[in-house]
Symmetry: C2
Subunit: 396 residues, 2 copies
């Protein structure tokens, strides 16, 4: 048995987080994290819960009563959505166009679902015609799609068409909005999404730990009329309804500090205005995009599907992705990430999310990349990149 370990004071390096998340946290949100706690059943916490739910509805563009933070990271909210809406024997239609579509399929399988797939290449959105074909062939009960694929940097377009197809077949639609909520246009109600989940550490710039989830009445009706309980007690929304609903009954101890932080992060969204925030992400990420394109590096997805919050930038000839990532971390305390799954080694994933979507951050990214490419011997026009980003920012 060990003696008391001698562990020093917490002093992590000061990073600029421009990977796929966590993104840079606003100082006001960090301050909220350090607020002394009240109990999770305290009368004052009920108000905080109400306010957080109201702010979440605003960010999701929904009137769904059933809109809550799940006590865990984004994958917990994801499994809450999938595990509660998939009953054993249900057919679940999941996309093949990215890493997180595969995760959806895996979670649906564990929930007892029969998983069928609708295909699109990595980096492309689903084609509504393919979704219609998949519905005709498989008659799925639940259809999941990824609005903002963090692995490919592609945005799903034509969302209302997809939800129309699903509803014509009486299926429920689950949207993965982990990398879009608060940064990229998302209209849950108008677009007919029945359930959407997200993470706080992307475009909301909040530390991970309490993760947004919203369900409309159709989705909640299914949850509350299941024949068999969901397989997770922790994520059982019919039980959570007792805590986040009118009753406020004890289920589990809510992550009080993470709710404080999420509330503050969502206040920042409300202060800025959700449309203005979407516009800022597109504008600032556009300057990043202009910069890397001027250096001669393409983005992985086509412009039509470009996801401002997550830029999948092709690795230029002459360098290894890992060397570039290490270089900018070592020289600039700057985090960017490698590709995931099928795109591993082919792209850098550069986030432009929330508090990270600022001119100074994307300027640093382009300058640091330019330096890295120069130092490591990649054949790119570094100076052109910097100029293009500067120009794009000036025009704004």
């Amino acid at each position: 048995m060990t003696d008391a370990p001698d562990v020093g004071e917490l002093s992590p390096p000061q990073r600029t987080l421009m990977g796929p998340g966590p993104s840079p946290v606003h100082p006001r949100v960090l301050k909220a994290m350090s607020t002394p706690l009240v109990g999770h059943l305290d009368p004052s916490f009920v108000d905080i819960m109400d306010e957080t739910q109201e702010l979440l509805r605003y960010a999701f563009r929904t009137d769904n009563e059933w809109t809550i933070p799940v006590s865990g990271t984004g994958s917990a909210a994801m499994e809450a959505a999938i595990g509660n809406l998939t009953e054993p024997g249900d057919t679940f239609l999941a996309p093949t166009n990215g890493y997180f579509g595969d995760r959806m399929a895996e979670m649906a399988r564990r929930a007892g679902g029969e998983v069928v797939r609708v295909d699109a290449p990595w980096g492309e959105p689903l084609d509504p015609a393919d979704v219609a074909d998949a519905f005709a062939e498989h008659q799925p009960d639940v259809f999941g799609f990824v609005h903002a694929e963090t692995s490919t940097g592609a945005k799903q377009t034509n969302v209302p068409e997809l939800t129309d197809i699903a509803h014509e077949h009486d299926a429920l639609v689950i949207a993965d909005t982990v990398t879009s909520l608060g940064g990229v246009e998302l209209r849950v109600d108008e677009w007919g999404i029945d359930a959407a989940y997200s993470g706080p550490q992307k475009c909301l710039s909040c530390p991970p730990g309490a993760s947004p989830l919203t369900l409309n009445d159709d989705a909640m009706d299914k949850v509350l009329s299941r024949e068999e309980d969901p397989r997770s007690w922790y994520l059982d929304l019919s039980l959570l309804e007792g805590y986040w609903g009118d009753e406020r009954a004890y289920h589990h101890t809510a992550p009080v500090s993470n709710v404080y932080a999420l509330r503050e992060a969502l206040r920042l969204v409300a202060e800025e205005g959700i449309e203005a925030r979407w516009e800022r992400h597109e504008r600032v990420a556009g300057a990043l995009k202009a910069g890397v394109e001027a250096m001669g590096l393409g983005l992985n997805p086509e412009d039509d599907y470009w996801l401002p919050s997550l830029n999948a930038v092709r690795v230029p000839a002459g360098v290894e992705d890992g060397d570039v990532i290490d270089y900018v971390l070592d020289h600039y305390d700057l985090e960017i990430a490698s590709g995931l799954g099928a795109l591993e080694g082919d792209v850098f994933r550069i986030g432009c999310m929330g508090h990270g979507a600022r001119p100074e951050n994307v300027t640093l990214v382009v300058a640091a990349l330019a330096d890295a490419f120069d130092a490591l011997g990649a054949d790119v026009d570094a100076a052109a990149g910097l100029a293009a980003t500067r120009e794009a920012l000036r025009e704004q």
Copy 2:
């Protein structure tokens, strides 16, 4: 659709948290919560993970390599333990002597287990003879017990006897140590516990959000040789092994800030020394116990099973529990809690946990209760209570 909600600055009341948790958080831990984040795959975070694991092993009194914080609140760690160690068709033996034994049973059922029970009255520990009988009758594969029952204030004694019985029958033992870790004597390795889970917001005085879990090799062997995947992807320990083990592969985004905070809370444990910390809890809670007993209020469990971290104090004649709880909240910003389940209305649950286990806190509790009983007309000797607590603290 709502306009941007106008939600004010976060300003919760300043409570003294002496309920069943969350407990008062040490200022150093609050400060850790507000530390700017690094990425969950940052090389510097690997060191922080290693240190947190080392500190967790120290607090659990274990050498188990597989010792991690689960990304969720205590119930997530609970379901991780139960859901991974219970395969469909396994027989799971759970106790009937408290609220959290019932929760164990419910989670085991959802994992596909056949649940059988071993009985003891609420407020009493399991008798090893009854456990032996239950093993002879049911031959369970997994045996769960609650070391510190937060609903009854009773401590399970004779733990090594229980684990011996289980191991004679080749069963694995899961211990709920939510309200004991870091506050009440707990020796995972010496006592033969195969898996134990806890919460950070009890005797570790850390905000909820990342919850301790430890498994020995026998337990992990079972997890890694399951025939069927666990029903939760999020809590699948074979996948988490990729992140917290040597590989450091991405599974989900760890709650970085909560890990920072847990690390700092565990540093405080290491600085104080785990045995000294157990002794402090017993000493300070003893002064609380002396006070309420001198007022004529019994504790629910017998002295032999008294749990210093959670004092289940009988509600005196002449008052309603809710009126007293509201009174001390209104007049003293002091949180204590009502009974849970079978003891609802019969007891107050008064925590004495971690940073809350200090003379000033228990003195406030006894003084506030004395005032409440006096104001609300309960027939107790309030002055005697205060004197007894004062005496007990002076003797120390």
